[in-house]
């Protein structure tokens, strides 16, 4: 049976047999860095193509279908075009911050890859405060967006960045509270522990209705956090042309664009890990036969399947709903989602103490 775990183990053994311990670490780091960058590029291309295809089919059209079979190389061609374009820096912009901003956003997205368990025992860094790390690091991306908006010397960018700042800071509360509700149920911040705790069923099912509420709130909050429609206030095309990245062009624009999709991937990966069991196959309590059958599907496929399902959900929102207004957006968070998730957390805590979950 195919498994990524076997691959890493044999590589580890081969390196250990041929190099000294220090060199093994260096070589492994280089491999991890290369893999992370490669994953970035591939994910970016796949997700952009997926978005365009999903959008096209929701809009009764075909989408990209000229470059390569079924238009599969369209995004590659687009990326090549963007690489070759000139990256303009507007006059009067704060050049240092302007050029730094896309990299800040990108670095944040890359850092977030570290604790994610892509398959069984296939994880860059199984840190014991994994969930905390994710929530902490993901907040840094707002700094990149504010930097971009402020340094562009463009009023649209400034307005977009301000909106984005207000939005991300608000919605982190709800996202955080719904993440904590799973931490309460599991009793651990470590992502591998959280996945292991779903051996006999995913939290979405085990946690009764409160877990379902937490899941819905989580999806809403992360859609807002990644600035996706219907919460794409920061780049609201018809109001602010393109919001914080109005002045960016060429590869710097592409980095923002890519970071958006990587962020979607990461929040969906977190969502899948917390609520849908990460790489854990679908298990039902005592149905041994069924559980064994599910185990035959490789864990990486389970993980990516769940993640892409959530990504599809978020894309579905985007191509169906109109955009909210900024005050309605903040009302939704502060007046509805935050109280509900607080109450929900209380219920989940009682449930965890009393052991009412499965």
């Amino acid at each position: 049976m195919f498994s990524l775990e076997g691959l890493t183990n044999s590589l580890q053994q081969w390196l250990a047999a041929n190099f000294s311990a220090g060199w093994v670490l260096v070589i492994e780091s280089i491999i991890v860095i290369l893999l992370a960058i490669a994953l970035f590029a591939v994910l970016g291309l796949i997700l952009v193509l997926m978005e365009r295809k999903v959008a096209a089919h929701m809009q009764i059209r075909l989408g990209p279908n000229r470059v390569g079979p079924q238009g599969m190389f369209q995004t590659t061609a687009d990326t090549l075009k963007l690489i070759m374009k000139e990256g303009l820096t507007p006059d009067g912009a704060d050049k240092f911050l302007f050029n730094l901003a896309p990299f800040v956003v990108m670095i944040v997205a890359m850092l977030l890859l570290a604790p994610i368990a892509f398959a069984k025992n296939f994880q860059i860094w199984d840190i014991n405060i994994g969930v905390l790390f994710v929530s902490a690091v993901s907040s840094i991306s707002v700094i990149g967006i504010l930097m971009a908006g402020y340094s562009s010397n463009n009023k649209y960018s400034l307005l977009g960045a301000m909106r984005s700042g207000a939005q991300i800071v608000s919605y982190e509360l709800s996202a955080g509270l719904s993440i904590i509700s799973i931490v309460v149920l599991t009793g651990s911040l470590q992502l591998s522990d959280i996945v292991a705790s779903q051996q006999n069923g995913w939290w979405l099912f085990k946690g009764h209705i409160p877990a379902l509420i937490a899941f819905v709130i989580f999806i809403i909050a992360v859609t807002a956090e990644t600035n996706r429609a219907p919460f794409d206030m920061a780049e609201a095309e018809s109001e602010l042309t393109a919001g914080f990245h109005t002045e960016y062009s060429g590869m710097k624009f592409a980095l923002f664009f890519l970071a958006e999709y990587i962020n979607i991937f990461i929040v969906c990966a977190i969502g899948a890990t917390l609520f849908l069991g990460g790489w854990m196959p679908l298990h039902f309590g005592n149905l041994q036969g069924f559980n064994h059958l599910m185990d035959y599907i490789p864990s990486s496929i389970w993980f990516f399947g769940k993640v892409f399902f959530l990504i599809f959900l978020i894309m579905w929102f985007r191509w169906t709903f109109p955009r909210l207004r900024i005050d309605q957006l903040l009302n939704l968070e502060w007046k509805y989602l935050l109280p509900i998730s607080m109450l929900n957390l209380l219920v989940i805590t009682i449930m965890a103490i009393m052991g009412w979950h499965f």
Binding site: Y150, N153, P230, T241, R323, L324, Q328
Partner: protein, 384 residues
């Protein structure tokens, strides 16, 4: 008040610092190239945070001085320039001009031509409202409705292409009737369209009208009271959304509208949602008019006999029609020659736009797109 130079100055590099000069006001230029203005409209907006303090429209980016151009065109020619005013209801523009010329010549129009004209008018109106619906939803951030709207609109443009030879600027009407008879397929294809429209229109309500986000964005936004609507000279769906009866087809019927059975749609709320509902319900009325007429096109001439060179008697002639956007008035001053001495087009968009500043003060920047969307601005119509 901001002069042009001040505006340019405030758009200069120190712009962001300008927001911090103590007034708390930020001047942004929406347009002339901006995704929400659907054309070259330039709005200078004074903002306080997200709240709109003032909107100043700057026009003229597509002003072709059609009124001056028409002064050197004959009464047969000038009709077709007006297709380029409100290009979404170009057929109705032509209709208004032809009516004015016919009023001057006191021409009797054959019944067949009248019915064909009305049919085309209503098809144009439906096509225009379809495009408006898609574009407005797109302004509010929902991209999918645009393609749904085009699915139906495309059928209408195909019908137009077959009979008139053009899809957008139809140029089908001439003084005395229409240029050529309808295509043999016309009736069948219009009936097919009606069937398609009826099977799809519920999707509009499901996708957009009933959406809670959409309703929150529209209700209570850009409210225009009845008195203001009259004072600003608003017409069409904008006025009817505020409860002003303003449908020229009912008030001053032209052609055969007095014999047709249709309702004038009015709503009383005066907000964006009311204007939205007026247009949605108007589409149903237009379809009902088409249904009444499509099987009853009388036989006979499609054009009255006219002289090759038309000469209007000395005098002033004014006629008005209901375009998709409101009342279009054509005012011709004739000196008895072959060309008009002076022409004035009273375009609906120009008056409707003047109400924008009044509507928008105090609302959020995000509401602006809802207001502009429901005003249904077509910029060449405003600029002429």
């Amino acid at each position: 008040m901001y002069t042009e130079t001040q505006i340019i100055k405030s758009g200069a590099p120190a712009s962001i610092a300008g927001a911090l000069d103590g007034t708390g006001e930020l001047v942004i230029n929406v347009g002339p190239q901006h995704p929400a203005t659907h054309g070259v409209l330039h709005l200078v907006i004074t903002l306080n945070g997200e709240t709109i303090r003032k909107i100043e429209p700057h026009l003229g980016y597509i002003h072709r001085s059609i009124e001056k151009m028409c002064e050197s065109l004959s009464y047969r020619q000038f009709i077709y320039v007006t297709s380029r005013m409100d290009y979404l209801s170009s057929h109705i523009n032509n209709h208004a001009c032809a009516l004015t010329v016919e009023k001057g010549l006191q021409l009797e129009i054959p019944p067949r031509a009248q019915v064909i004209r009305v049919l085309m008018d209503e098809l144009t109106r439906v096509a225009s409202h379809e495009l408006w619906w898609g574009a407005m939803a797109m302004d509010l951030g929902a991209f999918t409705p645009f393609f749904y709207a085009f699915r139906e609109r495309e059928t209408i443009t195909d019908i137009m292409e077959e009979t008139c030879g053009a899809r957008l600027t139809m140029n089908y009407i001439c003084p005395g009737g229409v240029n050529y008879d309808i295509h043999p397929n016309f009736q069948r294809r219009v009936k097919d369209f009606i069937q398609l429209f009826k099977s799809k229109i519920h999707e509009y309500d499901e996708l957009v009208t009933g959406n809670i986000i959409f309703q929150n964005r529209m209700k209570g936004v850009g409210t225009l009271s009845r008195e203001d609507a009259i004072s600003f000279g608003c017409t069409g769906p904008v006025a009817r959304g505020s409860g002003v009866s303003s449908d020229i087809r009912k008030l001053f019927p032209y052609e055969i509208y007095d014999k047709l059975n249709f309702e004038e749609i009015t709503e009383t709320a005066g907000d964006s949602f009311a204007r939205y509902m007026v247009r949605i319900r108007e589409m149903h009325q237009s379809i009902s008019i088409i249904e009444q007429l499509i099987d009853n096109i009388p036989e006979g001439d499609f054009q009255a006999k006219t002289k090759a060179v038309l000469k209007l008697p000395k005098g002033e002639f004014y006629s008005r029609v209901e375009t998709a956007r409101g009342e279009l008035g054509v005012y011709i001053v004739s000196e008895g020659g072959t060309t008009p001495y002076r022409i004035k087009f009273r375009s609906p968009g120009f008056s409707n736009l003047s109400a924008l500043d009044h509507m928008a003060r105090g609302s959020k920047l995000g509401d602006l797109v809802a207001m502009m969307g429901t005003l249904d601005l077509v910029i060449p119509d405003i600029d002429r």
